[in-house]
Amino acid sequence: MSGVIQGGWGYVAGAYGITAGVLLLYVVWLYTRLRTSGRSP
């Protein structure tokens, strides 16, 4: 079909990968903060 954008899976992988990676890092950061918060000065 003319006019349709061809390919683009790299952009799709980038958008999903960055989203999943950042959210996962944030969950790990929160979990670590909660684990250590009881021992904070």
Binding site: M1, G7, A15, T19, L23, Y31, L34, S37, G38, S40
Partner: protein
């Protein structure tokens, strides 16, 4: 993590996994945008949840101003941070989508500009909190700043209706293939559960930080 947290985590993993699989594998490519349109199945849920999170922050800020209870301040701190995280992800996803469809990574279109302003305003709220040492002043001033920052959120939502420029307006549900609506809605709900979980966990971090601030210094 308690049972509610575990239930939210399990529900969000299952829903986001199923919605993403539907969006990447089952849904048909868009007639014009092709496979790039699959970014919408993560971009739109992120956008809606970012704005919802800032709405939580607004409600918590008003509650904090009215009651002066620290619990509302902790919730507001959490909602602002999680909302900002989603707001930044939304901007990055939109930029990735814009490159193949518009030919540019960024454009000062009203929707993109209002989202950028929204992010900067809530970065300002977080910065303000880090500058004020006294907890009650911090709660008061950051609540006022959150209420002011929230004024821009409805503007973000309405920007594509008021100004028809580069960013397309939302499509009517009746004109969209149900196979494309399904992953969108599943991811909206899955990300909502994850957002609520993140706000709950971040609220506990804020509460623990406040307790550490108020704790008397240890004797040598």
């Amino acid at each position: 993590m308690n049972r509610v947290d575990l239930a939210l985590a399990a529900a969000s993993v299952v829903l986001l996994g199923y919605g993403t699989w539907n969006g990447l594998v089952v849904a048909p490519p868009d007639r014009f945008m092709g496979d790039v349109s699959r970014i919408m199945y993560v971009h739109v849920p992120t956008a809606w949840n970012a704005m919802l999170c800032f709405t939580y922050a607004f409600v918590f800020a008003v509650a904090s101003l009215l009651t002066r209870r620290p619990a509302w301040d902790h919730r507001m701190e959490a909602a602002v941070e999680v909302g900002l995280l989603l707001g930044i992800l939304l901007t990055v996803q939109g930029s990735i989508w814009a490159r193949p469809t518009w030919g540019v990574w960024w454009d000062w279109d009203p929707r993109l500009t209002s989202v950028a302003v929204m992010n900067v305003m809530f970065i300002g709220v977080i910065a303000l909190r880090s500058f004020v040492d006294d907890a009650s002043s911090r709660a008061r001033w950051s609540s006022v700043a959150t209420v002011l920052a929230f004024v821009n959120v409805p503007l973000v939502y309405m920007s594509v209706r008021w100004w028809r420029t580069l960013h397309q307006p939302p499509r009517e549900a009746g004109g969209v293939d149900p196979a494309m609506l399904l992953p969108m809605w599943i991811n909206v709900v899955g990300l909502l559960f994850l957002t609520v979980l993140l706000v709950r966990l971040r609220t506990r971090v804020a509460r623990a930080s406040r307790a550490a601030e108020l704790a008397p210094p240890e004797l040598p």
